[in-house]
Symmetry: C2
Subunit: 206 residues, 2 copies
């Protein structure tokens, strides 16, 4: 009954998964809630409690088999598969996103890049040919695209989002510095590094 699990728990699972991937890269095969907690700066109780929402993945006295726990978390998060993603916006930011390899490396493949500027349409951006925004709705619909990244100026972000939602997108990673209105069944996450910087300057002395 996934709907009962608090979103804050879900938000920590990718962090656990990332730490497990690192541990197994380092050649380790077994870990414990204490070790994970130490690495992540989280209490071991919280890790055990979070994991217990999805089943008993560990063994008393022993801990967790890393390979097994990784697979379990991957499947809970639905990242054992590859996802196709649409990127809207081929400006400064959109270009950087399109060229960044970190997404594909971890299973999120940008397959379409859209822009509204006629002079950009048809150009190459890395391996992609920039598509006209007028094709957005049709492309998303025809390919059953579920995930999109929005990297357009703030003033266009809501309109683009509305089109995405109307065409069937259910998850949006929004780089525009604005809060998006979406229906309850659609998920939005926000990336704005400046917000993180502003949160830290509060604590700076000088």
């Amino acid at each position: 009954m996934p709907s009962e699990i608090p979103d804050i728990v879900i938000s920590r699972l990718p962090v656990y998964l990332r730490a497990l991937e690192r541990l197994s890269q380092e050649g380790q095969e077994v870990t414990s809630s204490h070790e994970l907690g130490r690495r992540l700066g989280i209490s071991s109780a919280q890790i055990r409690k979070d994991l217990s929402h999805f089943g008993g993945f560990g063994k008393q006295g022993t801990g967790y088999k890393i390979a097994f726990l990784k697979d379990q978390l991957r499947s809970v998060l639905k990242v054992e598969r590859e996802w196709h993603v649409a990127l809207i916006g081929a400006g400064d930011l959109g270009s950087a996103i399109a060229r960044y390899r970190g997404f594909a490396d971890r299973g999120f493949h940008i397959r379409w890049v859209f822009d509204s500027a006629p002079e950009k349409v048809g150009r190459k951006l890395g391996p992609y040919t920039i598509l006209p925004i007028s094709n957005l709705s049709e492309t998303v619909r025809a390919n059953h695209v579920k995930i999109a990244m929005v990297a357009v100026p703030a003033e266009y972000a809501q309109a683009v989002t509305d089109t995405l939602v109307a065409s069937g997108v259910e998850a949006i990673l929004n780089y525009a510095p604005i809060n998006l209105k979406v229906p309850d069944n659609v998920h939005v996450q926000y990336i704005d590094p400046v917000l993180h910087l502003q949160r830290m300057t509060y604590y700076l002395s000088e």
Copy 2:
């Protein structure tokens, strides 16, 4: 007594500030906790409570003067000034960060870019000349750099961080997919867009 204010409150102030900047761009001069709440998907009570930690910025019956509240929040967050930032890592990700204009536009000026690869040192990256990592400590110290962005591979991130901390940096924006250990007086924020995507796939149906 800033230290008593919960960090979760601090983390929302930049969001409020961003919304206020948008409102004033749109030509509005006054707003209310209800309007802000509607825009941000936050309850009006929470906004009033958060703001009340720092003083009475509004007027009963009227709401908040946007220009005034903006100034107050800027000064609470210490972003009424310009900050100088060091960027470590001039790979794919570091290059994208260096070229991105969104930081300088909002008062965070990248002034130094470091990389460990000898073949990159001395090259231009946008307006910057890439500096050797061996100069990191001295440069940070000499210029009293308080803020740094880390965009190196995960395996080097902790070592770079240790150097930064030892040289006086107090705020780190970390793009490496790893948890950093720092002393209590140093603040770290994390950027990993893939984590956000993985959090949303959990909810996707198909």
